[in-house]
């Protein structure tokens, strides 16, 4: 069984640009979560999608957005990139009724 896959592995963008990060959950998992792991800040919750709907979002500005597709894969978009957006972005999925997440390897976003 394939795990949670994220692409790209690394992404380098210039300040002010937009970044799109992708996540494919484990087959059968309907919920997708996005976390930001910035240096020294631990895991900060960004967004939660379930059955195609945004269910919750963390304390991040609106330029962080995303969506979930009918096949349950998900995109995270970050507009107007700032230097402090540089971080590892982790996607996790879970199946209904199980609160344990399975994480992907992450996308390392670097804003220069």
């Amino acid at each position: 069984e394939a795990g949670v896959t994220q692409s790209p592995t690394h992404l380098i963008k210039t300040r002010g640009q937009q970044a799109t990060l992708r996540c494919s959950p484990i087959s059968g998992h309907t919920s997708v979560y996005w976390y930001q792991q910035a240096l020294g800040l631990g895991l900060q919750f960004l967004l939660w999608y379930d059955e195609g709907e945004e269910r919750n979002r963390g304390n991040f500005p609106p330029r962080f957005s995303g969506r979930q597709f009918p096949n349950y894969s998900s995109e995270l978009n970050v507009n107007a990139l700032e230097l402090e957006d540089s971080a590892l972005y982790l996607c996790a999925s879970r199946t209904r009724g199980d609160y344990g997440y399975t994480f992907g390897s992450g996308t390392r976003l670097t804003v220069v």
Binding site: G42, L43, F45, R55, L90, A92, G100, Y101, F103, G104
Partner: protein
């Protein structure tokens, strides 16, 4: 607001010594708690969850509702246990809130 606190950013022990990684949470209700581990250059993975009361890689964790703690313990640390450990709690929003993490270093 729900909060998970891991008071130690870094814990350094010698091989064979006991280790305890502390986790305290604030949550009203019946939380589900987890420990996740991130080895160097590997993805974050589930180590154990309180509801299953299992021992993984020699680690155990007991939920103490009175002290609102979920400390992770191992009687004899191994070098391969060196990693970043995160405590997490599930809230009513079906969302995991993570602590700040503790880096465990096991010295030879």
């Amino acid at each position: 607001a729900q909060r998970v606190t891991q008071p130690e950013k870094l814990l350094s022990v010698f091989k064979g010594a006991p280790v305890e990684l502390k986790c305290n949470y604030s949550y009203s209700g019946s939380p589900e708690l987890f420990w996740y581990v991130q080895y160097s250059r590997q993805r974050l993975q589930l180590l154990l969850r309180h509801i299953s009361r299992e021992s993984i890689k020699g680690f155990t964790a007991d939920l103490n509702k009175g002290e609102t703690s979920f400390h992770l313990k191992k009687p004899f640390a191994q070098e391969e246990d060196s990693a970043m450990y995160y405590c997490a709690v599930n809230n009513a929003g079906n969302m995991l809130t993570f602590g700040g993490g503790t880096r465990l270093m096991v010295k030879p």
